[in-house]
Symmetry: C2
Subunit: 464 residues, 2 copies
């Protein structure tokens, strides 16, 4: 190990308390991007990122968009012959609801101890993505303090709409694509294989979603005075939703599975070796048996098979007690996880057609939203992949697992499609981080060793 | 017509403006019984009723219950050989939600003009049941002012839990049943055949309802990191709900239809003559074709066939935008309209069994609430029925229709079962009163002629 790296790692360890203080300031900003009510907080989060990057030594700017702004920064270091990387993160977070299930307020971060994970940071965004993003900033900060520069050329892009489909990205790429284009994107928004085993994610599922509203009577009706002859939108909606699956969990929407590229025999073998213990995986969230397509293993249901999930359903009386009405409408929010080969647009089209065909004459259907991003997979044998895997293994004392991921990171697809840029996905989350859920946490070990890991990866990428 | 009745009717006409003022004061009290947040307003409504009855000349009391109190009053008039009646009404109202659909605040009553109905009173409770209840109070007030007494012995009972299943009634009957027992109950909580044609309701559907909650993962899950293997409670719930109906609208729950007494051929003939124009009936609420059991006419679906309605469904993300989660639970509020012969307890038992049998191993089901009341039908040929029909026909200049009603009035069943007391159901609502819905209204014609009708009925009941 070079003396530079040794000193950088020592500095990261010494600066841990200050690094935590910086993260907590960031976590206190309720930057929920999907709900317009939080707009000004999203701006504050962007301003925090800009100030932080400038403090580290980057030239940072806030770029306006039609939605929440995007922070862009460049390091001065000009190192001839070294690669130039773009680090990507997002400052926005998921809504904290349901609030009543949080043991402590979602935007008042603090440290607590869990039997399984030791010390953890509790807050909305603790892992996704503020905690992960700060691991990289701390690595960069340490390199600049020790050597005055970074081992490779580094630019940074931090967006604020990752949790709501990144609607402003296309426009941003048109305007600033050249400025941010690099040899490789570093994306820190994924998990490790487990809390002690690092991983590089090489496959991501895509995402396509919309909201369906069934309109029936022109107003809520008294269920006694109209019940029988009057159509009930909840009944119509639930019938349509139930028809989307057969008894084996297969999705029945015509065309839904079109174009799917199945994993190679080699991938299947690797996954079989990984031997995801679905029982343990599910029991950690209070479940027991895989609920997906019965003819696929749990790891395939998660990494190489698409899903259709109902994320939220609403209709009629939502209050305390009972109200005997037939509601005027009922609605459902649906999102599909896509795998390589599926086209988000055609999947949503098939979904809309399937629903429209089943709406009775005197009711109507309305579709809201139409966001989608395709799945993606990277070659596991590039030099950068191998260098990063080696650096991770040295930090964690175990070989890094090359894994798939059931979640989507649309930006990785956009980097590939819009800028022809591959991504190296290294993250330090773990399955029980409760991201998108109440009491989200980030292991302190992930936060500490995450920063150390990035310090090592930055140096590793400089070797050629 | 006796000179007394003539003078009573004249006085009712002269007092109209004051009667409206009294009603508006009552309507301004937000006495929503199902939501504990409105408890103190329910008490104010009870106090208003007590004061009003005392002002008319009744001896009135507020009787405490485990829930909202019940107002009981007795008229001093002791008329030998005349029947003694109990007038029943309720001071509680349905929740006003959804508030955003009200054109004016629900508890700020006012008069406006509609093309179809002329002048109408707009407010939550304008019809159900405050407006209807006040028509009787105004009739009694006029009789007392003109003659110092009422043509028959009159007691009054006004409860505050009709809109939430009257949980306190059994206890109340045990304690005060003797005190309120009379020869006949007068219930003013039903509709006319149309805005110009009076009616007596002789059949009522029963009501049985509960809430079903499906519990899945122990917390909301990220739909990417768990989607596929993880069970989704919304999907499980919608599948169970869809299985409750076959393609002809028949309910598939085993035992649901057990014991049903079908209407007589004579009833069927009367209903055929009434010739409910289902097209017009449904188009008034934005629908077109009867959605109930396809082998029955619209009027049968409404009066003599049971229903199962989903009154409200909830699960997962309810906010703005999208949130890609698999929710920890999903729930539905269901109420069934019952017909003579069905047993509410067995219907609910069948429903619970049907649901429980379909909940997958690693999920669980919770049932909340278990309220029910059987359907009821009265002999159309009693003396009181004939006297009331005659009085109504004289006031409205048309024969009174003897009709069925799809809604439930559990109190009528309780009067019969607990106190062996028949009910005379005369109401002045019309189908488009929007009761239980935003912008509830009561036709001013119903309010005026309703009071006059009761004045006539009170005298008619005195003839024997």
């Amino acid at each position: 190990m070079t003396s530079n790296l040794t000193n950088v790692l020592k500095l990261i360890d010494r600066s841990h308390e200050n690094a935590l203080k910086r993260l907590f300031t960031f976590l206190k900003i309720p930057s929920v991007s999907t709900d317009p009510a939080y707009k000004k907080h999203c701006l504050s989060a962007a301003q925090w990122c800009k100030a932080e990057l400038q403090d580290i030594g980057f030239k940072a700017q806030i770029k306006k968009t039609d939605g929440h702004p995007i922070v862009v920064a460049h390091d001065g270091s000009k190192i001839k012959g070294k690669p130039h990387v773009l680090f990507y993160g997002h400052y926005d977070v998921q809504p904290p609801e349901p609030l009543e299930l949080w043991k402590t307020p979602p935007f008042e971060p603090h440290i607590t101890t869990e039997r399984r994970n030791g010390k953890v940071i509790i807050a909305r965004g603790a892992e996704d993505n503020k905690g992960q993003l700060v691991t990289f900033l701390e690595a960069a900060r340490a390199w600049k303090q020790v050597t005055g520069e970074l081992p490779v050329g580094v630019s940074v892009m931090i967006e604020g709409e990752e949790e709501c489909g990144s609607p402003s990205l296309p426009g941003f790429f048109k305007k600033h694509g050249k400025e941010i284009r690099a040899d490789l994107a570093l994306v820190c928004d994924t998990v490790q294989w487990d809390k002690d085993t690092p991983a590089i994610t090489t496959m991501l599922r895509g995402l396509a979603g919309l909201e369906i509203i069934i309109h029936g009577p022109k107003r809520d009706l008294h269920s006694g005075l109209y019940g029988g002859p009057a159509a009930n939108p909840i009944r119509i909606l639930t019938k349509i939703l139930a028809a989307m699956f057969d008894k084996n969990g297969k999705i029945t929407i015509p065309g839904f599975y079109d174009g799917i590229k199945n994993p190679t025999a080699k991938q299947r073998r690797q996954w079989a070796e990984l031997d995801l213990e679905s029982k343990a995986f599910l029991s950690s969230v209070g479940l027991s048996s895989p609920a997906g397509e019965s003819r696929y293993s749990a790891i395939e249901q998660l990494w190489s098979r698409p899903t259709l999930e109902m994320n939220g359903i609403t209709g009629g009386y939502q209050g305390v007690g009972s109200k005997t009405i037939i509601p005027a409408q009922a609605s459902v929010k649906i999102s599909c996880r896509l795998v390589p080969g599926q086209n988000p647009k055609s999947v949503l089209k098939s979904l809309r057609q399937f629903v429209s065909a089943q709406v009775p004459e005197d009711c109507s259907v309305e579709f809201i939203g139409n966001h989608g991003s395709a799945a993606i997979g990277f070659d596991m044998n590039t030099q950068a992949m191998r260098q990063a895997a080696k650096a991770l293994s040295e930090e964690w004392g175990k070989p890094a697992v090359m894994m798939g991921c059931g979640a989507s990171i649309p930006i990785v697809t956009s980097f590939k499609d819009e800028l022809g840029m591959d991504s190296l996905m290294v993250g330090f989350g773990v399955d029980d981080d409760r991201i998108h859920s109440p009491n989200e946490k980030y292991n302190l070990k992930s936060f500490k060793k995450g920063a150390r890991s990035w310090a090592r990866i930055l140096e590793a990428l400089a070797q050629s």
